[in-house]
């Protein structure tokens, strides 16, 4: 869903802020919670985001992407928060190129995950990702933002979005693989034991 505000010639009223901002509340909170890792900080972050957005709503550039604008405020607010400062200490390397994966694998993290619907495992692996990977992955996969929107939200060039996203996905796959293999082996042993009985 896109939130482009078409207000050619129209003035932005306080009413329209509420109308535009509240539908984003759930997803902004979800994003904030993933970033901060706890409820209190997520609520503070969302609250501060809305307060800043409301204050700056009159300066919101007409015809631009309201959703990306809100996420950018939240992201920038997070970066200046206590937990955000920790994230800034970790430098994202965006120059790395990933080679193509050519081999056709039968049991890949994707297929195993789909088969098992192992949501909790995936959530814990996402949680463990560096924040700059986690946020770009969530913006792309969960919020279904385009590269352009992500670029506006994170204030990074399009090329950075693409390379960082690619590395985030690769890191996720790499971290999932051993955990899923352990799970598969355990399941296999259990299965074998049962057959033995």
């Amino acid at each position: 869903m896109f939130y482009y505000v078409d207000v050619s010639g129209a003035r932005l009223q306080p009413d329209s802020f509420e109308e535009l901002a509240m539908p984003l509340f759930d997803s902004l909170y979800n994003f904030a919670r993933w970033l901060t890792g706890n409820r209190e900080e997520a609520e503070d972050l969302v609250q501060e985001t809305y307060a800043k957005a409301l204050k700056g709503f009159s300066s919101f550039q007409l015809g631009t992407n309201f959703r990306a604008w809100m996420y950018r405020i939240l992201h920038n607010t997070f970066l200046t928060s206590r937990s955000g400062l920790k994230v800034r200490m970790t430098v994202a390397l965006d120059t790395g190129e990933d080679g193509p994966e050519l081999a056709v694998e039968r049991d890949t993290p994707e297929t195993i995950l789909v088969e098992r619907s192992n949501r909790e495992l995936l959530q814990s692996v996402i949680e463990e990702l560096p924040a700059y990977f986690r946020e770009i992955l969530l913006l792309c996969e969960v919020e279904e933002m385009s590269y352009q929107e992500i670029s506006e939200t994170l204030s990074v060039p399009l090329g950075t979005v693409m390379s960082r996203l690619s590395r985030a996905r690769k890191t996720l796959r790499d971290r999932l693989r051993p955990q899923l293999q352990v799970g598969t082996e355990t399941a296999g042993i259990a299965k074998g034991t049962n057959h033995g009985l």
């Binding site: 009223q13 009413d15 901002a21 509340f25 609250q47 056709v104 959530q123 996969e141 996905r169 996720l172």
Partner: protein, 250 residues
């Protein structure tokens, strides 16, 4: 490898971010290449599971309520609105007192007082007229189908009066026409009702020249009952009444 260049763009393809020409070429390739199609499928599956897993947290209801309250536009009572509220309170008090007083009076007095109330209440309203026009040929047709009778409005050229507009009104549940005129910043109401629908046979002689400090005239003409009321001088009320009478007798 043949697919190397395709594989490098697989994520961008699955994200739907390739330029349209490349997208079409990729589509064609994926349909003919089992390796790339399997890889694309896996990435789509991964996207789906991340999407489901990523929608993990929901805000507390009280937090949502608090946030909604904090960004809801604060009601700003304008100066004009405050005056209107004050006027409404005064009206309510006057109306209540008047109602209590009316109970003790004759039907004629009651009708006259209700006409005075209608006049005051309308002027206190933020939208005193439903049809806004100084053109009698606009205002008169507006009443068609709204009231069970027709009436004529006077030609006001070369007079000091100006028609501001009209609205529907009710007296004892009887529909009627309410016209508002302006003369030297004084507003004058002209009410027209069906005579037979009024609650009491009116005794025009019992009408005192001033009702609640308003000047009022009333007469019956062609089965219709006319009331002219306002805070303008009795002479102005009389002039307007004569103009209305003249228009109705044509």
């Amino acid at each position: 490898m043949v697919c190397e260049s395709w594989k490098a763009k697989l994520d961008t393809y699955v994200d739907g971010e390739l330029p349209s020409e490349e997208m079409r070429a990729f589509d064609t390739h994926v349909h003919s290449c089992s390796s790339c199609s399997a890889d694309a499928l896996r990435r789509v599956q991964m996207r789906r599971v991340i999407q489901v897993a990523g929608k993990r947290f929901t805000p507390r209801a009280e937090f949502r309520k608090r946030m909604q309250q904090s960004i809801a536009p604060k009601p700003q009572r304008s100066f004009r609105l405050r005056w209107m509220l004050a006027a409404a309170v005064v009206m309510l008090v006057v109306g209540t007192l008047t109602s209590a007083y009316l109970g003790k009076r004759s039907g004629t007095d009651q009708v006259f007082s209700e006409i005075a109330d209608l006049h005051v209440a309308t002027l206190a309203s933020s939208s005193p007229v439903d049809v806004i026009s100084s053109d009698r040929h606009t205002v008169k047709p507006w009443f068609q189908g709204k009231i069970p009778f027709a009436f004529d409005l006077p030609e006001l050229q070369n007079s000091e009066f100006a028609l501001l507009g009209g609205r529907m009104t009710y007296l004892d549940q009887t529909p009627g026409a309410h016209l508002i005129y302006d003369v030297r910043k004084h507003h004058i109401s002209v009410f027209v009702f069906q005579e037979r629908s009024l609650p009491a046979k009116l005794d025009e002689n019992s009408l005192s020249p001033k009702k609640l400090s308003f000047s009022m005239e009333t007469w019956s003409q062609g089965g219709l009952r006319y009331f002219v009321i306002g805070d303008a001088s009795a002479a102005d009320i009389d002039v307007l009444a004569k103009l209305v009478k003249a228009a109705s007798s044509i």
